[in-house]
């Protein structure tokens, strides 16, 4: 029997009371051993999707399965095998970090503290101080530890690196890689492509409650235009470049020429540039942020 996918959403929809459509007809599948980045601006319906998966709110239509189990009918069984970091993490302020983790571990009935202490030292978690005295980042670390400490098969993470310093964000990405190398799956929501592009295998883009696109990070990159800047020894001439397919001349300024180039046209650009003496050539990979914006523009134009 084929293994059920880590997460499978079918026509998942949510309309809040008062008629606000937060999510409409989401079809999305996440395989085991994969990090799926879930991207969209704030208010796009990301948190709604994640909360539906944990049965915190109930779908207006459609449904979702995690590891083959319906999240409504088998909620308890599902949540045993899932780790969750809420988008807006609220802990019990009077408890210390350690007490909070103890109390959550008891809810799972798990007594294995080995993984937990490993995670705590890895992220340098403050365990002895009351949570109300902790910074946003230190609270968030507790949120990460509690999501990973029972070695869940599926992780559902809502903007998990909020408030973490860059070093810990890097450590967190390593943790995600180890998790998926282990055959487990991560559903990672974010409003920032930067957070996701180094760790996700695929990216799903959502806007106004609708799935805009699902693509591999690689393929998003391939379609992306490179920013190419060439400094010539003499006055720059844009004519041979403008003739190349897909190439766009952004600026000509004395000896400097700036182009937007699709991956397929790179070879032609380099060869055309080789016709005259060159001082410098810089090619910058397009920021996914730009691709992201471009996709949104396309969708907007479609309306």
């Amino acid at each position: 029997m084929a293994e059920a996918p880590a997460i499978e959403m079918t026509g998942l929809s949510k309309t809040y009371r008062g008629g606000v459509v937060a999510l409409s007809g989401l079809d999305l599948r996440l395989e085991r051993g994969e990090v799926l980045g879930y991207l969209g601006p704030n208010g796009a319906g990301k948190s709604t999707t994640l909360r539906l998966l944990l049965d915190l709110i109930r779908p207006s239509a459609g449904g979702a399965r995690i590891l083959g189990l319906d999240v409504r009918a088998n909620g308890v069984e599902v949540r045993k095998r899932v780790g969750y970091v809420p988008g807006d993490l609220r802990l019990f302020d009077r408890l210390t970090g350690g007490e909070q983790l103890d109390s959550l571990a008891r809810l799972r009935g798990s007594s294995d503290t080995k993984l937990r202490s490993e995670l705590c030292s890895r992220f340098d978690v403050a365990l002895d101080r009351p949570i109300r005295e902790l910074s946003k980042g230190n609270r968030q670390k507790l949120g990460l530890v509690q999501a990973f400490m029972h070695r869940p098969e599926v992780l559902v993470l809502d903007e998990p690196t909020t408030g973490l310093d860059p070093l810990l964000q890097e450590e967190f990405r390593r943790l995600l890689r180890e998790t998926v190398d282990d055959g487990r799956a991560v559903f990672l929501s974010s409003h920032s492509l930067d957070e996701v592009q180094h760790v996700a295998d695929r990216v799903a883009i959502i806007r106004s409650g609708r799935l805009v696109d699902v693509d591999s990070v690689e393929s998003l990159r391939e379609h992306a235009l490179r920013r190419v800047t060439i400094h010539f020894a003499d006055t720059a001439d844009a004519t041979p470049f403008a003739a190349l397919p897909g190439v766009q001349v952004d600026a000509v300024d004395g000896t400097m020429l700036r182009l937007s180039v699709p991956e397929a046209a790179m070879d032609g650009v380099v060869k055309a540039a080789a016709g005259s003496p060159i001082v410098d050539l810089v090619s910058e990979p397009a920021d996914l942020e730009e691709i992201f914006l471009e996709r949104y523009r396309e969708v907007d134009d479609g309306h």
Binding site: V82, P86, R90, L107, R108
Partner: protein, 240 residues
Amino acid sequence: MYATLLTAVFPSIHGSPEFSKLIESYPDTLKTLFGISGDFTTGPGYLDGELFSLMLPLLAIFLAIGSAARTLAGDEDAGRLELVLAYPMRRRSAVLAKGAAVALEVAVFCVAAFVALIALSAIFGLDLRVGRLVTAVAAVGALGVFHGWLALAVAGVVPSRALAIGVPAAVAAAGYLIGGLEELAGWLHPFRYVSAFWWIGKAPLRTGVSGTGAVVVAAAALVCVAAAALAFERRDLKTP
């Protein structure tokens, strides 16, 4: 504290004809509301009037509503249930656990009140019957638990701490007034069945608590906690 003070005053009232006269001069409305009948100068009569008709039920109800509103509506309002309910736990188990916590707090309060009254009775010669006192304190506990579980039911339906406090507090106030005044104000008489205070009775130490009344209040409390569990199981958790 309050109980100590009240019982300490008792010896000076006990058997005092002046005090009896003073009480006699109270308007009937007040006497009925506070459960005062002719025997205010006996121990049980005094405690019924001073403690069991208002003060103890009020404290138990405060405690129970506060606990219920804090643990369910309060935690949800503050977004703290978001993580807890993402754990492998049924919503209804969470509600029942909160219900048990409310009942436990009320039980601790009742045991403390019982112990204090037994001690004070011995010191000041209130001449209480232990069996009656147990029933009276248990009746206070039942009133507390009923209103606390009603708070849970409200919190189960709407994620609002204010309503989880306001609704049962209003029910308690209405129940108290109806229970106290229905004999005097004829138009209230038909409503007496909705008053938990009426079912329990105004003089638990002197006349005891009716078995039917106790069963009705206990049943109403159970209906509330069941409704809380069912309603909370079905609805969306508030977005933090």
